[in-house]
Every structure is written in structure tokens, then in C-alpha cells.
């Protein structure tokens, strides 16, 4: 199973700093591919510091833990170390107090992806033209929907949409969401910062722009360009891993259900 990877990032049109951080690894840490996107928050340069430290801690832990493969426990340990690193750094520097970051990780090997997320940076699986949210949204309204307190429609434009119930580095403890998914040919795993949605690009449009031809790098750029066309009020970052379709295999038509 061969993977193509691509990423792109842009500060957007209204922000001077890009507070997102991204890591894209190939054939390292006992994985075929590792992609990480973190979206930092906090005043001054704190948001950038938080996301940067979160990404570098996660990749360092995975590079040095001596383990192999896409294991959710492994990702959880790395996430907890990142939480500790950001939390401690914030305690040491008054400018950074209260800083934090979202985190979304996809670790892929041999057709399996281990996924971890904290916060509201989403992960999507695109399969056969359909998009599925595979991360858990830790925003205040999404949490309220899960608890059955408000309806999904009420969450969409909720005033507390940007308030997070979980984040990396804000509290002493962190509880990430994890999952493990088997990948199929043609599947694309997309991680992004919420800047895509904030700009007004729907998940379906992002999928079309990304995957409309075989050029994934160009696809990632097309998403950024579209976000900028729409005003891009926030930083936009996305990283994508796509399972190549093996064209040497005989094409098999899908079975019809009658």
C-alpha cells in the first residue's frame, strides 16, 4: 500500500502570525507516514509557541520511544508528554500563561491509521467520494450536543464555538480521543486547522479541491487559494495522506445489491 502525502499552510488574510504547526514524516518512527496538525492559542507569541512545542514533543517522543506501528496507546503517551511540555513552559514564562494548542495526529502503517485528537482541529476520511469526520470535536457546543443538551443545528453558529473543553497544555491533565481505522485503496485522511471551516469552505468542497486530480500538492494549494478567495480570517493548515490506487490490479466492479 503506497501513500502520497501533501501539506500546505497559510496565515490567512487577517492574521499576522501563523499559530498553526505541522509535521509530515515519511518512513520514520516505525511508521509509513505520520502527519500532525496543531493550532495554537494564547496572546503575544504564545499560540505559536504552544503549537510548535506540541508538535516537536510528539514527534520527538515517537522517534525515541523504540516502538513501531500505529498504536493509539503510543500516540496517547506522546500527547500526554506534549501536554506536560506545553503546560510546564507556560508555568515558566508569564507571557505564555494559559497558552495551549489543539492536536490532531494520524499515524499510518500497513493500511491502518491510528488517530488522536484534542480540541477542534478536525480529521476527515474521504472514501468513495464521501467525507466522514473521524475526530471528536472538543468545542463547547459540540460537547453540549453529545450530552443531548442542544441540537446539532444549534451548534453550527454557536457563540461559544471557539471555546474548547479540551486542549493540549492548558491543564495538568489531557484526555485525548483516539481511534483506529483500516484504510482502503483511494482513501484520503485529511487533518486541518479550523481555518478551513472558518473561511467558509465546506468539507465536501475541500474534498473536491484536494482530490479532483492526482496532484495532491496542487490539491492542498487549491484549498488554501479557495480559503483566501473567501477572506480567510484565520490561519489555514492542512495535511493529507492518500492511499494510492493500484492500477496494476484488474479493476473489479462493485457488486450490485438487488
Amino acid at each position: 500500500m503506497r501513500l502520497r502525502i501533501a501539506w500546505a499552510t497559510d496565515p490567512g488574510l487577517e492574521r499576522e502570525e501563523n499559530e498553526d504547526s505541522v509535521a509530515v514524516w515519511r518512513h520514520k518512527a516505525g511508521l509509513d507516514t505520520l502527519i500532525v496538525v496543531c493550532d495554537g492559542m494564547g496572546g503575544h507569541a504564545a499560540g505559536q509557541e504552544a503549537s510548535s512545542l506540541a508538535v516537536s514533543t510528539v514527534t520527538k517522543v515517537l522517534a525515541e520511544d523504540g516502538e513501531e506501528g500505529p498504536d493509539v496507546e503510543r500516540l496517547t503517551r506522546a500527547c500526554k508528554e506534549a501536554n506536560k511540555a506545553v503546560f510546564m513552559a507556560a508555568q515558566d514564562n508569564p507571557d505564555w500563561l494559559g497558552m495551549g494548542s489543539t492536536m490532531v495526529i494520524a499515524a499510518i502503517r500497513a493500511g491502518e491509521v491510528a488517530l488522536l485528537n484534542v480540541g477542534d482541529s478536525p480529521a476527515y476520511l474521504f472514501r468513495n467520494g464521501f467525507a466522514k469526520l473521524i475526530s471528536q470535536d472538543h468545542s463547547w457546543p459540540a460537547e453540549q450536543v453529545r450530552l443531548g443538551l442542544i441540537k446539532a443545528e444549534e451548534a453550527a453558529n454557536h457563540p461559544q464555538k471557539h471555546k474548547l473543553t479540551r486542549a493540549v497544555g492548558v491543564w495538568e491533565q489531557v484526555q485525548p480521543f483516539t481511534d483506529k481505522i483500516k484504510l482502503e485503496e483511494g482513501d484520503a485522511v485529511v487533518l486541518c486547522s479550523d481555518g478551513v471551516e472558518t473561511a467558509g469552505v465546506s468539507v465536501e468542497e475541500m474534498g473536491r479541491l484536494l482530490l479532483k486530480d492526482g496532484n495532491l500538492d496542487r490539491g492542498a494549494e487549491r484549498v488554501i487559494e479557495r480559503c483566501r478567495e473567501l477572506g480567510a480570517p484565520d490561519n489555514v493548515t492542512l495535511a493529507v495522506a492518500r492511499v494510492e490506487v493500484d492500477v496494476t490490479k484488474t479493476a473489479v466492479l462493485p457488486k450490485l445489491k438487488i
Partner: protein
Amino acid sequence: MGRSPDNDIILRDPATSGHHARLERRGDQFWVVDLGSTNGTFVNGESIQEKQLNQGDRLTLGQNSVHFAVLGA
């Protein structure tokens, strides 16, 4: 070079590490040394730990690429 404010060359880039790489003068030569960056340092597209730079080499850190040149005598 890196993302943190204490670098000589600050690169405001989500794919660049806080302290990403260092340029060193060794005698008449210039070298680039990766400082354990997350996404790596590349010379002419090849991932390096450290490498001597030649006129016109393309140095890539995160999403930024520059050509290396020594100006003047």
C-alpha cells in the same frame, strides 16, 4: 534559523522548528547544520544532517526555500 524570536533569521512558518538549522563558517566554507528539526533540512531536495553549501545550492526549511550565495570578495 528558526521560528523562535531569538534566531538571527526568523521564519514564521508552521513547518519550521523553533531552532531549525544553523549556518556555520568553517574556514573558507559555509555549512548548514540541522538542529534536530521536526520536518528536516534539505539541500537541493535531499534531507541532510549537515552539509557544505556551494554557490547556488537550494536550501529548504519547512515551506521556505532559498538559494545560497556568497556575495562580495
